[in-house]
C-alpha cells in the first residue's frame, strides 16, 4: 500500500484521515499543517501520495499543489474538500490534482479514491 503525507490545518481532520488510511493498510509517513510545510515535507519524504486540504492558512492547498508539482511533476495529490467548494477543486484539478475526497469523510470512499489514484 502507499506511503502517504497528510496535509490539513486541523488536527482533527489529520487524525481522522490517519485513522481511516491506517485502517486501509497505508503507511502515514508524515503530516503537515500548512502548505509551506507540505512542500518541505514532500521534498524530504517523497511520499507516494499526498492528501491536501484546500483551505489552509499561509500557503493554501492549491499553491502547495503547484509547489509540489514543480518539484515533482508526477506527484500524486488528492484534494480534500468540503461540500460546496467545487470551484476550488476544479482549479486544483486543472493544476494537476489526481483526485479528490469530500469532507465529511466516509471511510470506504476515501480508501477507494486513494487506491485508485495510487493505481493510476
Amino acid at each position: 500500500m502507499g506511503r502517504i503525507l497528510i496535509v490539513d490545518d486541523t488536527l482533527f481532520m489529520r487524525t481522522l484521515l490517519k485513522n481511516i488510511l491506517f485502517s486501509g493498510g497505508h503507511d502515514i509517513v508524515g503530516e503537515a499543517a500548512d502548505g509551506d510545510e507540505a512542500i518541505t515535507k514532500y521534498q524530504e519524504l517523497k511520499p507516494d501520495l499526498v492528501t491536501m486540504d484546500v483551505v489552509m492558512p499561509k500557503v493554501n492547498g492549491i499553491e502547495a499543489l503547484k509547489g509540489i508539482r514543480t518539484f515533482d511533476p508526477n506527484a500524486r495529490v488528492v484534494m480534500c474538500t468540503a461540500v460546496g467548494q467545487e470551484q476550488m477543486v476544479k482549479l486544483a484539478i486543472k493544476t494537476g490534482a489526481r483526485g479528490y475526497i469530500v469532507k465529511p469523510f466516509q471511510a470506504p470512499k476515501v480508501l477507494e479514491e486513494i487506491k485508485n489514484v495510487l493505481g493510476s
Partner: protein
C-alpha cells in the same frame, strides 16, 4: 481604494450570506419575502461591484437579479434544477469574493459559462439548448498529422450512475489523458463536461504515443463505469463522426441595466467595527495575564511592608486589571452563529445526496464562545451532523413505515449553562442499537460476555468512542455511528470539554457537548500535598472527603479506598511531591465517568487562574497540563486529570 475594498468585501459577504439563506428558504416553498430579499441582495451586490470595477461579479449578479425579476413577475417558476443553478452561482460569488479579498480581480475563467448557465433561464423561449461556452476551440482543431509512434485514439468514458460530481470526475479523466498526449476533440464540449451538464458519458480523441493499456489505466479512476478505447488509425479514417454537439450560444447582449442608481437607503455608514488580527489579541491576552500575576506579587509585597496607601492604590489597580481581563475575554468571544450559519447548506447537500428529508433547526446561535474553542469545534460538529443525517435519520419510506413523519428533524442548539456552553445535536432518527454495540464489543474481545450483560447502557455506548472500535470498516454501520467518534471526543476533550450521548432505539439520538466558554482561565482547587501546592481543575473534582485510614485497602498491589459503596483507586502522587505524613483529605477526581482519588494535606480553596503551558525547555511532563502563578509568585503545577486517569 483599499479601504473601500475591505468595506466592499464585508458588505458583499453579508449580501451573499443573505442570498444563500433565502435560497434555502425558497427551496422549502415559494416565499415572496425571500424572493424580494434575494433580488435586493443581488442588486446591491451588482451595484457595489460595478462601482468597484469588478465586472465579473457585476455580470453574475446581474444574471441572478434578472432571474429573480422574472420570478417576481411570475414568468419563471422555482424548480430544483433552477435552484441548483442558483446555488452554484452563489458558490461562485463566494469564490470570487475570496479572490477579490486576496487582491485578485474576481474574474474566474469559467465565469462566462456560469453567466450563460443563468441566462438560459431568462431566455427559455429563445434557447432551450444547453448553453455551453462560446470558445469551443478544441472542436474545430482539425486533425493534425501524426508524428511517428503516435496514434489517434477514440476513448469513450462512461461514469457511474450514482456519481456525485460528474464534472470533477470528467475533468480528472481529461486531465490525466492530457498527461499522455494532446486532446484533439472532446464531445460534449470540454466546458460542458467541466460544468457537469452532460449525461455521464463523453468521448475523447487523443493523439498519443502511449499504449492502450496506459490509457485504460489512467482513465479508470473512481466512479468510472466503463472505458472503451479504439485506435482510429487502424480503422477507416473516414469514420470520423459528424455528430458534433450543437452548441448554441445565447445572445450575450442581454439588456444591460443601469448600474445601481443610488442604493435605496443611504446608510451613512461610519466605521463602528475594526478588524484586528487574532494574534494581536493573543499577545494582548498574554500581557494581561502577566499583569495579573505581577499585581498579585505587588500586593504581597505591600502587605509585607504594611504600606496603607499602597494597599489602597493596589485595590484600584486590582479592579482595573480584573475589568481589563473580563473585557479581553469578551473581545475574544464570538457568537456561535459564526460556524452555525455554514451548516444549513451542508445539511441540505448531505440530505439530498443521501435521499433523506431533513428539517434543520438551529437554536441559540447567539451564544458566545471563545474564538480558540470555536476554531476547533467546526469539524467535530460537522462530523456529528453528518453522522446524524447519514446514519441517524432514516429514509422517508422507512420513517413512514415506522409511523414517523417523512421529514426527519435535526436540531442544533446552544445554550449557556452557568459557566459552560452546551451544544446539542439531536435527531429523531433510528437511534443507537445498544444490543448490537454490546455484541460487537464482546466479539472484539473488549469485554467478556458476562461483564457486558451487567454493563449499564451508558457504558456500552462509551464503546463507540473507543479508537479502533469505530474506525474498523466492518462496523461502520452500527446503527450507524460510524468513523471517528473517538476523534470527535479527543478533539472536544482537548478543548477541555466533554461529550455525552443519549439514545433511544427508534426514537433518535442526542449528543451533548459541554464546553468551557474560554480556555485561558480555569477555576481550580488549590490543595497542599507534602507542604507544596498543586492546582486541580474544578471540573474534574467530584467531591472532597476526609481520609479515613481504616478504609484504605490494598488491592493487587495498589491502594484503593472504600467510599460509600464505591471502591476507588487511591493515588499518593509521592513521586511528584514527595511522601507526606499528614494526608488528611481525600479528593475524588473524575474524567468521563472514571473516578480516582488522591490524598492531600489540606485544601486552600478555589480560585480562577490563568494556565500557562509548560515551556519548550521543560517539554511534556506526564500528569501536568501546565503551571499557574498565583499572587505570591510561586509556580504551581496544574494536575492533568485526563492523562492521569487514562494512563492507569
Amino acid at each position: 481604494m483599499d479601504t473601500y475594498r475591505a468595506l466592499y468585501i464585508a458588505e458583499s459577504r453579508e449580501n451573499h450570506e443573505n442570498i444563500v439563506k433565502n435560497l434555502l428558504i425558497l427551496e422549502n416553498g415559494t416565499d415572496t419575502g425571500a424572493i424580494a430579499e434575494i433580488f435586493r441582495s443581488a442588486h446591491s451586490l451588482k451595484g457595489m461591484s460595478a462601482s468597484m470595477g469588478y465586472a465579473g461579479m457585476e455580470k453574475l449578479c446581474h444574471a441572478m437579479e434578472d432571474i429573480f425579476q422574472e420570478i417576481r413577475n411570475d414568468n419563471l417558476e422555482v424548480s430544483s434544477a433552477l435552484m441548483d443553478a442558483l446555488l452554484s452561482a452563489s458558490d461562485k460569488i463566494e469564490a470570487m469574493l475570496d479572490d477579490i479579498e486576496a487582491e485578485g480581480q474576481g474574474m474566474p475563467e469559467d465565469l462566462d459559462e456560469r453567466v450563460e448557465a443563468l441566462k438560459k433561464w431568462t431566455h427559455k423561449g429563445t434557447s432551450g439548448a444547453i448553453a455551453g461556452s462560446g470558445k469551443g476551440t478544441d472542436e474545430d482543431a482539425l486533425q493534425s498529422s501524426l508524428r511517428p509512434g503516435e496514434h489517434r485514439f477514440r476513448i469513450s468514458v462512461r461514469l457511474k450512475d450514482g456519481c456525485e460530481n460528474r464534472n470533477l470526475r470528467g475533468m480528472i479523466v481529461l486531465q490525466n489523458l492530457e498527461d499522455l498526449g494532446s486532446l484533439e476533440k472532446v464531445s460534449p464540449d470540454r466546458a460542458i463536461v467541466e460544468d457537469g451538464e452532460f449525461d455521464g458519458s463523453f468521448v475523447v480523441d487523443l493523439v498519443s504515443d502511449a499504449g492502450m493499456e496506459a490509457i485504460h489505466t489512467i482513465s479508470s479512476i473512481t466512479d468510472v463505469q466503463e472505458v472503451s478505447i479504439q485506435d482510429l488509425e487502424i480503422r477507416d479514417e473516414s469514420e470520423t463522426p459528424s455528430e458534433k454537439t450543437g452548441v448554441s450560444v445565447p445572445g450575450k447582449d442581454a439588456p444591460s441595466r443601469k448600474p445601481a442608481q443610488g442604493e435605496k437607503a443611504d446608510k451613512g455608514r461610519e466605521v463602528k467595527n475594526i478588524r484586528v488580527d487574532i494574534h494581536r489579541l493573543d499577545q494582548m491576552m498574554n500581557l494581561v495575564e502577566d499583569l495579573v500575576i505581577n499585581r498579585g506579587r505587588i500586593t504581597q509585597i505591600a502587605r509585607r511592608y504594611q504600606i496603607k496607601e499602597m494597599d489602597e492604590t493596589l485595590n484600584m489597580i486590582g479592579r482595573s486589571v480584573s475589568d481589563l481581563q473580563n473585557l479581553m475575554m469578551n473581545i475574544r468571544m464570538i457568537p456561535l452563529n459564526h460556524i452555525f450559519n455554514r451548516f444549513p447548506r451542508t445539511v441540505r447537500d448531505i440530505a439530498r445526496r443521501e435521499g433523506k428529508e431533513v428539517e434543520f433547526v438551529i437554536e441559540g446561535g447567539d451564544t458566545e464562545l471563545d474564538r480558540s474553542i470555536m476554531d476547533g469545534l467546526n469539524d467535530p460538529l460537522l462530523h456529528l451532523i453528518r453522522n446524524a443525517i447519514d446514519h441517524g435519520i432514516e429514509s422517508p419510506t422507512v420513517r413512514e413505515a415506522a409511523g414517523k413523519p417523512a421529514k426527519g428533524t435535526l436540531l442544533l442548539s446552544a445554550r449557556r449553562d452557568r459557566d459552560n456552553v452546551i451544544i446539542t445535536i439531536a435527531d429523531d432518527g433510528g437511534g443507537i442499537d445498544i444490543e448490537r454495540v454490546r455484541k460487537k464489543a464482546i466479539e472484539r474481545g473488549l469485554i467478556s460476555a458476562e461483564a457486558a450483560g451487567a454493563l449499564p447502557n451508558d457504558d456500552v455506548i462509551d464503546f463507540l468512542f473507543r479508537p479502533g472500535f469505530s474506525t474498523a470498516e466492518a462496523i461502520t454501520d452500527i446503527s450507524g455511528r460510524g468513523v471517528g467518534l473517538d476523534v470527535v471526543r479527543t478533539t472536544i476533550e482537548s478543548l477541555k470539554g466533554s461529550i455525552k450521548v443519549e439514545s433511544t432505539l427508534g426514537k433518535g439520538s442526542r449528543f451533548e457537548l459541554l464546553l468551557p466558554p474560554t480556555m485561558a482561565i480555569v477555576t481550580v482547587m488549590m490543595v497542599r500535598i507534602n507542604g507544596r501546592r498543586c492546582a486541580i481543575p474544578v471540573h474534574n473534582v467530584v467531591e472532597v472527603a476526609s481520609l479515613v485510614q481504616e478504609r484504605i485497602h490494598s488491592i493487587g498491589g495498589h491502594e484503593a479506598i472504600l467510599l460509600r459503596d464505591e471502591v476507588l483507586p487511591l493515588d499518593r502522587l509521592d513521586d511528584m511531591f514527595g511522601h507526606s505524613e499528614k494526608s488528611e483529605i481525600l479528593v475524588v477526581i473524575q474524567q468521563q465517568n472514571r473516578k480516582r482519588t488522591i490524598c492531600a494535606d489540606s485544601i486552600e480553596g478555589q480560585q480562577e487562574v490563568v494556565i500557562k503551558p509548560l515551556s519548550n525547555v521543560v517539554g511534556i511532563c506526564r500528569g501536568i497540563s501546565g503551571v499557574t502563578i498565583p499572587g505570591d509568585g510561586e509556580v504551581v503545577p496544574v494536575l492533568d486529570v485526563n492523562s492521569m486517569i487514562k494512563e492507569n
